[in-house]
């Protein structure tokens, strides 16, 4: 095959801050938005960007995720000439190796990249909620004759210490990196989305693999080294909706964002759909005793109680007299009669038989099976 640009998704992380939600599945496989898993977003972006080959590097609790990705059929990536590969760490003649960092996960898959004969690689995280056409970012990369292009977004300065921060000149060329700085020099944050010219990436990864003391991380090692070597690194200004859902609260917030009229994610856009697995659900039923207001409800849900400002997934049952408010209920959960759930995330297949009340500043995780 010969592809201009291929995608590699880093989906190996556990996401410990999601607590028990990632006890059995990797973070990219966590449910989102009533009918999705988080990884549906980058995979749909790949499909919608006209990219035909994608590799997904998985490691932590990967069975559910690997099954979910399958042949890539849910995202249309199973056609002739398309390729969706699950890339777990594996045993080689040199021995067995786990992926020891983001750069190492790509380094161990250089053979896969070589076989695609690609000119460019877009490297993605499996745990962000956003829509992006990477072909536009590639046009920007080519226009600038860049070696590396990093998608960046303005964040509130108070939050900047959580991110990799970039400083640029007027032409968006990056002249400094700060990885999670205590005193950020700018409010321009890396989204962890990189386009590399492949020949340069290949060389940089091999060099990094041989570097003693390297943590084999893009943000900490590979990108600063390339910057120091005078390579052309550019920041691609992204202005749409983007959310890192790394914590219970941010996952809850991102779900609540879907209910905000001003949210620019535009899940309902027919021209840039987010694809997902079909759940073979029964029709969604809103019973005579139900109240549903300002909410998102997926097929297969049965609502007999009251739902206000919440996101309800497939096969969820809200029994009569139950009141769900400002919450995200994952697939197959049941909220028993008369129970109140507020400001919470309820895990998949959980049966909630007691009131569960979080706060708008600290959403509660309810995940006792």
């Amino acid at each position: 095959m010969k592809e201009e640009m291929v995608a590699l998704i880093l989906a190996g992380g556990r996401g410990t801050r999601l607590q028990s939600l990632t006890a059995k599945v990797a973070k990219p496989a966590v449910f989102f938005g009533g009918k999705y898993r988080i990884i549906d977003f980058p995979l749909s972006n790949v499909a919608n960007s006209g990219i035909n080959a994608v590799g997904v590097a998985t490691q932590y609790e990967s069975t559910v995720l690997n099954n979910y990705i399958g042949t890539g059929r849910n995202w249309g990536l199973n056609g002739t000439g398309a390729l969706a590969s699950i890339l777990p760490p594996r045993e080689t003649p040199k021995g067995a190796n786990w992926y020891s960092g983001t750069a190492d996960a790509i380094y161990q898959n250089i053979d896969w990249l070589d076989k695609t004969h690609c000119e460019y690689v877009v490297i993605l995280s499996g745990d962000h909620i956003y829509k992006m056409d990477y072909s536009e970012m590639l046009a920007f990369h080519k226009k600038n004759a860049a070696d590396v292009t990093i998608a960046c977004i303005k964040v509130p300065l108070s939050e900047a210490p959580r991110f990799g921060i970039v400083c640029t000149d007027k032409e968006n060329r990056i002249n400094e990196f700060q990885e999670k700085p205590k005193v950020p020099k700018s409010d321009y944050a890396s989204m962890g989305i990189y386009i590399f010219t492949y020949s340069l990436l290949r060389e940089a990864l091999i060099k990094d693999a041989d570097t003693k003391g390297s943590s084999h991380d893009f943000g900490k090692d590979v990108l600063p080294t390339l910057l120091d070597a005078g390579k052309r690194l550019f920041a691609y200004p992204f202005t749409g909706y983007w959310k890192d859902v790394g914590t219970i609260h941010s996952l809850w917030e991102a779900n609540m964002d879907l209910l905000d009229d001003k949210c620019t994610l535009d899940l309902f856009s027919p021209s840039f759909k987010i694809y997902s697995a079909d759940t073979f659900s029964k029709p969604q039923f809103i019973s005579p005793s139900a109240v549903v207001d300002d909410s998102i409800v997926n097929q297969g849900a049965v609502v007999r109680g009251s739902v206000y400002h919440s996101v309800i997934s497939n096969e969820v049952t809200i029994e009569k007299g139950a009141v769900v408010k400002d919450s995200f209920i994952m697939p197959g959960a049941t909220i028993k009669a008369g129970v109140k759930v507020t400001d919470a995330i309820v895990g998949s297949s959980v049966v909630v038989s007691q009131d569960k009340i979080g706060t708008p500043t600290d959403a509660l995780l309810v995940n006792d099976k």
Partner: protein, 371 residues
């Protein structure tokens, strides 16, 4: 299943829903918002472990093909199983000769390819769930040449008109079959669903061909009912014959009753359909919805009561929908009133329009119409 079974969905001589089925078969007509009627027999086949499926297509092949695609949604192993829309190309312009018998004859190549031991034939407009795995075992054990599913009807003067009415002995052998002319209320009605071994099907085809070029399967069986051992097996669970626009509306709304719904939809018996990748339903602040099925992609700002909405329906503020079936991607504008009506897909009901019919005579808005 140790025997090799072919499932055939029979789309010949299906009833019509008036103008709603002018450009589509009942098979590909929307059912409960997110399904098409054909999903039910196809899912019965898949859930019964039937590996190969053919669709006997009388007409409206575009609408049917668009829904079923390559059929992957309804077969397990795509190499061992097979899925074909079977179309009688030479006869499609000769309505008289375009029968299910002629269609199977034209598509014998498919039968030769699948080499079934048994065939199950089921129509899409008779809606029921049945485990054909068990029924085939029962059929084999019974020694009957043909097993036919039936139901008992109590309203034959007004319903099941032209469906095959059957008479049977105490032991379930059919003695007589003829079309229901609505003479009496009580009676037993064939579900147009047959199980037989493949050589039996071949001899039925040969018999039909030798008798008349106009003969379809049900004519042939009516003719042979007294001389061939046809065993009738009664379905006691949910069965409805969707045979008119009024019944389409009534039976759709009847399924809003949870007990009726659970009669049709058993646990662990999924109904598979084509995915459209629509997002979940968005219920806007101030909307009012009760006792309704709403399919994904819909955006609800107005009032929806006792209704079934297809995918991507937009219900604007102040709109009231009651006792209605609304097709996919329809737009129901502000302050409109829809009651006892069927609004076809992509139709638009604009500002202050009234679309009000009765349950016996629902108002129908055609696909894509703007009123």
């Amino acid at each position: 299943m140790s025997v090799k079974v072919l499932g055939l969905v029979n789309c010949f001589d299906n009833p019509d829903f008036g103008p709603m089925t002018r450009h589509r078969a009942i098979a590909s007509t929307s059912f409960l918002g997110r399904y098409a009627f054909i999903d039910v027999p196809l899912s019965n086949f898949l859930n019964s472990g039937i590996p190969s499926i053919g669709i006997l297509c009388q007409n409206h092949i575009r609408s049917l093909s668009r829904h079923v695609g390559n059929g992957r949604s309804w077969i397990n192993n795509t190499k061992i199983g097979d899925f074909q829309v079977l179309y009688d190309e030479p006869n499609v312009a000769n309505p008289g000769y375009n029968t299910d018998v002629a269609d199977i004859n034209e598509n014998r190549w498919f039968m030769r390819q699948v080499k079934p031991d048994y065939v199950v034939i089921a129509p899409p407009y008779m809606v029921y769930e049945a485990d054909f795995k068990a029924l085939i075992q029962e059929h084999i054990a019974s020694g009957a040449r043909i097993t036919m599913l039936y139901m008992h009807g109590t309203n034959l003067k007004k319903s099941f008109i032209n469906q095959s009415k059957i008479w049977l002995t105490d032991r379930g052998k059919i003695t007589k079959m003829e079309p229901n002319r609505g003479e009496m209320d009580e009676g037993d009605i064939s579900l147009g669903t047959y199980i037989m071994d493949y050589p039996m099907l071949e001899s039925l085809l040969d018999y039909a061909k030798g008798t008349s070029s106009f003969f379809g399967l049900s004519d042939t069986l009516n003719y042979l009912s007294s001389s061939v051992l046809i065993k009738a097996v009664k379905l006691n669970d949910y069965v409805r014959c969707f045979d008119s626009l009024s019944h389409y509306l009534k039976f759709s709304l009847e399924l809003l009753d949870e007990n009726t719904f659970h009669e049709l939809f058993a646990d662990k018996w999924p109904i598979y359909t084509k995915t459209y990748d629509t997002p979940p339903v968005l219920y806007k602040s101030g909307c009012h919805v009760e006792n309704s099925y709403i399919a994904n992609g819909s955006i609800i700002e107005g009032t929806v009561i006792n209704s079934v909405l297809g995918r991507g329906v937009v219900v604007k503020k102040g709109a009231i929908i009651k006792n209605a079936v609304i097709g996919s991607d329809a737009i129901i504008d502000e302050n409109t009133h829809i009651e006892n009506a069927v609004v076809d897909k992509e139709a638009q009901v604009l500002h202050i329009s009234e679309v009000v019919g009765t349950l016996d005579d629902p108002l129908y808005i055609s696909r894509g119409d703007i009123v």
